[in-house]
């Protein structure tokens, strides 16, 4: 194949420098196949596809800034007396971990900046993973063939929270120490093995002298390695499936419409990395995050009021706050057979998070079972066009937000000058009622938006021009849509409920009946896309208006 071995054969000679490099690489490792596959691979473009990119890029920033921090951080819980340049803490007894975190902040040039970059991008990482998952859920991107990638995404969400929490605790300051204290209390509430797990984790009684070192190992080795592995899996599947696309003219389940990877998409996506980095740098430069020097070293005795965990732990902390420990004179904590069942801690710590993640992981299969939809989907749903799914998502989101808000119940009370107890009572009520309201409202809003789409598709958009007809009637002129814009509003499926079907033995079994009920619930309220026939009818009906419209548009053209 190479030019020298078979001089007689007509050989392809690269003329440009880039071509010669490509040829050089290909002759040695055969990379041309990959380039041929990826070089012009088409990626659809939409702003909502960038959340995943933000997540990926903030992870890269985390690796970069985190590596810098490891050069200076010492995860030891040995006692020392601070000798650095931050005067208020001079000679204060503290752990080496806290002391080295202070040194990074005050005595390493650029250390504070790196700490802030690291913390801000960690917050951004979990946030962008979460928002990305919301986008995927609400647009139905988790449907076949992408169910497994959805699961990988869920694992990544959990891992990102684990990475965040293990890192949050490392500086061994008062705030994160109290966070660990809460974790210890939650672990101790686990029946049978809780006390043992606590003693094993902390190497004895809380706080012990080993926890920081152990969390450090998890934070810089195990968790990031798992995240990296999952990201590789995630991106591999994105390549296999090709990206989803929003519905619109020219887009269907058999194609992918967008820009080629090289050069436009690569440039946009690559440039976006620098933009994310720049924004994180701005935040790190101007907004203080986690000022550990204000908190002081960990000490089990003091705690400051109004302390908050990092945002992604908030929903668990809020759930802990919402759970009443006593109902009247009845204690939620129960002693059965001489053993303690700490339900007032166990239930809020495990149940809401358990429900959220169970539903999250199984949802693609639940929906597939209800809809019996086994087709591949590459065109996304606009959220309004899947009202029940959107409503389920919003119910879950509101539930999460209620718990999250509860984590700030004391701050809500002090900022708005309301009673802390009332805030808690209201949030307790919202914990149960909020998701229901959210479900109903969202479904109605989605259906209303669908009707609006129909209206616009059939009657055109409102121009805001009011015309008086010769006989005195006032009408607003509607401008008809062009066929591309109209297709965006009508090109979707609106499945109707699927009644129970007999199985291979000709029997409609119980499970199938249940499925049919769910299907009814899922698709009962529906708005069908407008059809050409309806459009024709609508035009016939408004014939006289159209005559005016065309007259008007001619006028507009003439001057």
């Amino acid at each position: 194949m190479s030019a020298t071995s078979t001089p007689s054969a007509p050989t392809f000679v690269a003329k440009t420098k880039g071509g010669r490099i490509t040829n050089f690489v290909d002759e040695r490792v055969g990379g041309s196949g990959i380039l041929r596959e990826f070089g012009r691979k088409v990626f659809p473009d939409h702003w909502s596809f960038m959340f995943g990119e933000v997540a990926l890029y903030s992870f890269v920033i985390l690796l970069l800034s985190g590596t810098f921090l490891t050069f200076f951080f010492d995860p030891s819980m040995a006692e020392t007396h601070y000798q650095g340049s931050y005067t208020p803490l001079k000679n204060v007894e503290m752990s080496v971990a806290y002391s080295s975190s202070l040194d990074i902040s005050f005595d390493v040039r650029g250390g504070l900046f790196m700490r802030q970059v690291h913390h801000w991008s960690a917050l951004l990482f979990v946030a962008s993973v979460s928002v990305h998952m919301l986008r995927v859920f609400f647009t139905g991107a988790f449907r076949k063939p992408r169910e497994m990638n959805w699961v990988v995404g869920g694992v990544l969400l959990i891992l990102s929270m684990a990475a965040g929490f293990t890192g949050y605790s490392l500086p061994d300051d008062l705030l994160s120490g109290n966070g660990l204290r809460i974790i210890d209390g939650v672990i101790k509430s686990i029946p049978v093995v809780g006390t043992y797990i606590s003693f094993f984790l902390f190497g004895g009684e809380f706080p012990g002298t080993v926890i920081i070192g152990r969390l450090y190992m998890l934070h810089i080795l195990l968790v990031p390695a798992l995240i990296l592995l999952m990201i590789v899996l995630h991106l591999f599947m994105v390549v296999v499936h090709k990206h989803t696309q929003y519905p619109g003219p020219g887009r269907n389940d058999g194609n992918v419409v967008g820009y080629p990877l090289g050069p436009v998409y690569a440039a946009k996506a690559g440039g976006f990395f620098f933009i994310v980095f720049g924004v994180v740098a701005l935040m790190a430069g101007f907004f203080t995050i986690n000022p550990i020097w204000n908190y002081g070293p960990y000490d089990p005795s003091p705690v400051s009021a109004g302390t908050q965990p990092d945002w992604y732990i908030g929903f668990v902390d809020g759930a802990l706050r919402l759970m009443p420990g006593t109902i009247g004179n009845w204690s939620v904590e129960q002693v059965w057979f001489g053993q303690v069942f700490t339900f007032n801690v166990l239930l809020p710590a495990l149940v809401p998070a358990g429900i959220i993640f169970t539903v999250l992981f199984t949802y693609p299969w639940i929906e597939r079972w209800i809809t019996k939809d086994n087709r591949e989907h590459h065109v996304l749903d606009r959220p309004r066009n899947a009202p029940t799914r959107t409503a389920i998502g919003m119910a879950g989101f509101v539930w999460y937000c209620v718990m999250w808000a509860a984590a700030g119940s004391d701050l809500i009370a002090t900022h708005f000058h309301v009673s802390l107890n009332d805030v808690t009572y209201w949030l307790r009520a919202l914990f149960f009622v909020g998701p229901v309201i959210a479900f109903i409202v969202t479904k109605r809003v989605a259906l209303a938006l669908q009707r609006k789409d129909r209206e616009i598709a059939l009657h055109g958009r409102e121009t805001g021009r009011i015309v008086r007809l010769p006989h005195g009637e006032f009408i607003e002129v509607h401008a008809p849509l062009d066929e591309y814009k109209r297709y965006k509003l009508v090109g979707f499926e609106s499945p109707s409920p699927l009644p129970a079907e007999p199985n291979a033995h000709g029997v409609v079994d119980k499970k199938e009946k249940r499925r049919a009920l769910f299907s009814m619930w899922f698709f009962e309220d529906r708005v069908a896309p407008a059809t050409p026939a309806e459009l024709a009818a609508a035009h016939g009906h408004h014939g006289e208006h159209e005559a005016i419209e065309s007259g008007e548009s001619q006028k507009t053209l003439s001057h």
């Binding site: 340049s85 040039r109 504070l112 900046f113 802030q116 109290n178 204290r181 809460i182 101790k188 509430s189 093995v193 809780g194 006390t195 043992y196 606590s198 003693f199 902390f202 190497g203 009684e205 706080p207 499936h241 269907n252 058999g254 194609n255 967008g258 080629p260 050069p263 436009v264 440039a267 946009k268 440039g271 620098f274 933009i275 720049g278 740098a281 790190a284 430069g285 101007f286 089990p300 005795s301 003091p302 009021a305 802990l320 919402l322 759970m323 009443p324 006593t326 904590e333 001489g338 303690v340 004391d410 107890n421 808690t424 591309y484 109209r486 009508v490 069908a528 059809t531 026939a533 309806e534």
Partner: protein, 356 residues
Amino acid sequence: MGNHSDGSPNHSGTVATAGQNEVEKFQDPGIPPHRLRLADTDPKAAKRAERQVALLFGTSVVGTLIFLVAYFAIDLGDDSTIATIRLQNALLGIGTAFAMLGIGTGIVHWAKALMPDHEVSEERHAIRTEDDRQAAVRIVDDIVEETGIKRRPLIRNTLLGAVALAPLPALAVFGDLGPRPDDALAHTMWAPQDGKLKRLTRDPDGTPIKAADVTIGSAFHVIPEGLNELNEGKLNEKAKSVVLLMRLNPEELHPSPGRADWAYNGIVAYSKICTHVGCPVALYEQQTHHLLCPCHQSTFDLTQECKVIFGPASRPLPQLPIAVDAEGYLVATSDFHEPVGPSYWEREQHERNINA
């Protein structure tokens, strides 16, 4: 115009009149025609975009310079103040932000304004081919068949047993991660040592507290005598033994039977470790005699022996029995009569053992 169908074409009445059942749906009109950008048609606009991109790249260079100047010119010597660090941090932030945003926005602007923006349609290919799948299924079947695992249950079952047990050593090697809990959680430093009662001392300096110093309405954060002198496990002991000391009007206390002599002259001592998940119950509301945990807002009523009156805690705070020694200092007459802090599985047994 509001009078249109309920959404279902079958009920709208329009389908029948149109009489074109074959055209139920709108046809996909295809990708909209490409619209040229200004830079595609006007060489001047293209040139302008080129200059804008170059300018953005230029700001990146400026940003890098700002970073370097801030890094080297601002000295974090011993005499540096927090203001110096803030200034350096802000300048490093601005520098990095300009350096990164300059490159990022430059590239994106270049891509959007000057690179071809024709939307392309690419066919999706099936993820798998039918041939491959059938071959794969055959291969799997052949492999399973050749191992004979279905025909030889003895092999299968012993293998399953071996594999199931094999991870046990891996679990066992983690057995030394920590000591067995035993009854470590049931005892604190307050237990009298060699017959000598422990004095209540101030947190953090460890000076003993005279009963006469505790005026009505005051509150003290208390640690046991000798805590600061511990060489090992100081924080572990502190995490269990911190106490809040308060003095109320004696008639406001309503001690239950057997607890009457746990207080001295209206002075009471309660564990500061919340019975919920262990945060320090650090807030004392002097007027209402409530103790509030700032972490999860559990509220305890001092006048009812720290019964939970609000929040997620289930148990009252444990009370430390106190008295006054010959010199007038407050002392603990015994350890707590129950384990302090968050509940755990064996807690009830421990409490019974303490009181046995």
